[in-house]
């Protein structure tokens, strides 16, 4: 880029980008290096307490932790729920707000609403929705003869993580709707109209024109879903805190608890380092896959 620039121009370009570089280094690079460095020490979070170098012991502890395996499974469930639950719903909502119905502005606002509500408020809302004694869902189940079903899914070791993925889908479907909506907008009407003239049915137009032309939207969605699932924290923390027991733990809750409840900062930083690497590797792999698929 700098090849054709004069020395003065190069200097000016460097000077102009320096503040951004320094800011980026300060808020991103430096903390990241610190995370990796602290991951090799045993430390209780008290600055005056000596840090003890333990090599890879924190990483070994992370990978041997029973809860790490639970978190790994739960992150997998999150990713799958993204693909099989959020994606179809978001795509459907996008087609609704891109259609010619009259109240689409109302729908667009309604669908996006959960995105702007505080996560704590969402957790509280769902807590009451799923409350087993007189909660709306319990009452509904009772009225249709399904009163025997325990609706306190967030308090169930078996179903807590699935309940969270549904809440997560409800929250984020609106945001992802916008991604697909932007993709739908970019499809030229002429192509769809030409297909219609050629006699292609609505489904065929969707299957053979809309879906292929939404490829970049799908790529953005999948990248967000995978990296977002690996680093997920707030939704789990505010709904179940990782419980009951450890049933809904994810990497983020484990990291948080080890640092702020157990004073085990070395372990916590090892978990943080793993998260950074996992997110980085996942995004590189996905980009390579997308590039390969684009070339085909």
């Amino acid at each position: 880029m700098f090849g054709v620039m004069s020395k003065r121009k190069k200097f000016e370009a460097l000077l102009v980008s320096l503040p951004a570089f320094l800011l980026y280094s300060f808020v991103f690079i430096y903390p990241m290096i610190t995370v990796f460095r602290l991951a090799f020490f045993k430390w209780n979070g008290i600055p005056s307490s000596p840090m003890q170098y333990v090599g890879f012991r924190n990483f070994i502890a992370v990978f041997n932790d029973r809860k790490f395996m639970i978190a790994l499974r739960n992150v997998g469930i999150f990713i799958l729920s993204g693909v099989f639950l959020i994606m179809p719903v978001a795509l459907f909502l996008a087609t609704v707000i891109q259609s010619k119905i009259r109240v689409k502005r109302f729908f667009r606002t309604s669908y996006f609403m959960p995105q702007v509500i505080s996560r704590t408020a969402i957790a509280l809302m769902w807590y009451f929705l799923l409350y087993p004694e007189g909660g709306p869902l319990a009452t509904l189940f009772q009225s249709i003869g399904l009163g025997h079903i325990d609706v306190n899914f967030l308090g169930s070791q078996k179903y807590a993580i699935y309940a969270i993925t549904v809440i997560n889908a409800w929250t984020y479907a609106g945001f992802n709707m916008l991604i697909f909506s932007a993709g739908l907008t970019s499809i030229p009407n002429e192509i769809l109209e030409a297909a219609e003239v050629d006699g292609a049915s609505g489904f065929k137009r969707f299957r053979y024109i809309t879906v292929p032309m939404l490829k970049s939207s799908f790529q953005i969605f999948i990248l967000n879903a995978v990296v977002g699932s690996i680093t997920t924290f707030e939704m789990v923390y505010v709904t179940t805190g990782g419980g009951p027991g450890s049933a809904s733990e994810v990497f983020g809750t484990l990291l948080y608890k080890n640092a702020f409840t157990y004073n085990n900062y070395g372990y916590s930083n090892a978990m943080g380092a793993f998260l950074i690497v996992a997110s980085f590797v996942a995004s590189i792999l996905l980009r390579k896959m997308f590039a390969y698929s684009d070339r085909k």
Binding site: I46, S49, N152
Partner: protein
């Protein structure tokens, strides 16, 4: 016109500069001291009293900028304190839990030794009950000094709805055997024998310790902490199994993971629960219940087969008011002044009067207020306690043990077996011991 504008502008700048200087000078004179407690709910009489005292201190001490950063939620409170420590800017005055679990803070100089100040000011602390200082006495770990002033002590007790028992024609059961015998009739009548709000995981921790005291006294606690006994040995397994059996028999009702400690109180007031296990800290709140005339306070149930531990309690000192500023720090004197204010005899005497004598206090009062019925009943049991400990995990230097035990035992309510629960706890304890060998 231009000239006039320039003059006005200059004058405004000059005034602004002088005003700015004045503000800066005032700000420089003020010493900022933050105070972190779990008192932030104005609807609770005890917490409201604290908030009023903060306002009083602020008014009476214009040279100190006292910032109240209190937060009721235990986890948020602890996180706030820990992050302030990790950022090398520890909150100056705070609630400290004491015990071995927090030894690191003492050993690394985060908590100030106030023994010298107590000696220098003999009036401060003279009225305190000496036994309450035990959890901040770290001499057993080779650390001398006193690291905080006790807050009101507590005891895990039970509150009964006498009306329900009267209606059923059952005498209020005080032993586990009697509760087991009465439970079928209570359940049959549509009541919960003993509400258990497991949504707060500390409820399981409290219950387990209280139960262990009634079965083994403090012997099991000592054996577990010394490593002589394991968490999956028959003693602890038996206790967790007992809790599970009671849960499965309907003693604790159902949907326990859907409600918390406040839910227990609501079930007592709403006449859904015949008994709740709770603690002295709730006496003030229960006194305000609409059916207070039906509520009776009793000790945590004992085992008829273990009469020697009938008066063994989970309770004692709750937490401590401590400080982090060290002698020589610019804010040391101001911080000490704040600590003394909130731990003074006057502070507790005011609280005693504000609560009409309800609850427990860390100091002996010269005058006595005739207390409410619940406090009197509580004290009848509490005063004859023969042995008393805090939650078992507090005695271990393994910081994560408390959350681990509470979380694991709570899984009784979501179907885990007692054996799996104690095995998982012991696995983590073994790992901790190996890592710290």
């Amino acid at each position: 016109m231009k000239r006039a504008f320039a003059i006005i502008l200059s004058a405004a700048m000059a005034v602004g500069a002088v005003a700015g200087f004045t503000v800066t000078a005032q700000a420089e004179e003020k010493v900022t001291v933050r105070i972190l407690t779990r008192y932030s709910n104005p609807d609770n009489a005890r917490e409201k009293y604290f908030m009023d005292k903060v306002a009083q201190f602020q008014e009476e001490n214009p040279d100190i900028d006292l910032q109240d950063v209190s937060i009721s939620d235990e986890e948020s409170h602890d996180t706030l304190f820990k992050t302030s420590v990790a950022a090398s800017d520890p909150i100056e005055v705070f609630n400290f839990l004491g015990y071995a679990a927090n030894l690191d803070y003492v050993q690394n100089g985060v908590i100030t030794d106030i023994s010298g100040e107590l000696e220098a000011d003999p009036e401060w602390g003279a009225s305190y009950i000496d036994a309450l200082f035990a959890p901040v006495d770290y001499s057993a770990f080779g650390v001398d000094g006193i690291y905080g002033m006790p807050t009101p002590p507590y005891g895990v007790c039970c509150f009964y709805n006498a009306k329900i028992f009267e209606e059923l024609g059952i005498e209020m059961p005080e032993s586990w055997e009697a509760i087991e015998a009465a439970a079928p009739a209570i359940i049959e009548a549509g009541y919960i024998p003993m509400a258990f709000g497991a949504k707060d995981n500390y409820r399981a921790g409290h219950f387990l310790t209280a139960l262990s005291m009634k079965m083994y006294g403090s012997d099991l606690n000592n054996a577990l902490i010394s490593g002589e006994k394991k968490w999956n040995d028959p003693e602890m397994l038996g206790l967790v199994q007992q809790m599970q059996d009671w849960y499965e028999a309907g003693l604790f009702g159902d949907n326990n993971l859907a409600y918390d400690a406040n839910g227990e109180l609501a079930k007592l007031e709403g006449e859904e629960a015949a008994i709740i296990f709770s603690g002295s800290w709730n006496i003030g709140t229960i006194n305000g219940a609409s059916n207070i005339s039906d509520i009776v306070c009793k000790g945590f149930p004992y085992f008829e087969s273990k009469p020697e531990f009938k008066d063994a309690w989970m309770g004692g000192p709750d937490d401590f008011m401590s400080m982090s500023s060290q002698p020589g720090d610019p804010d040391y004197d101001a911080t000490l002044r704040v600590l003394k204010f909130f731990t003074s005899d006057d502070y507790y005497l005011g609280l005693y009067e504000a609560l009409g004598g309800a609850g427990t206090y860390p100091i002996n009062f010269e005058k006595t207020i005739e207390a409410d019925a619940l406090t009197t009943e509580f004290n009848d049991y509490y005063s004859v306690a023969t042995d008393m400990i805090g939650e078992i995990e507090q005695f271990s230097p393994m910081t994560s043990l408390m959350d681990l035990v509470r979380t694991e035992v709570t899984t009784i309510f979501s179907g885990d077996s007692a054996e799996d629960i104690v095995n998982r706890i012991q696995d983590e304890v073994d790992y901790y011991n190996d890592s710290n060998a």
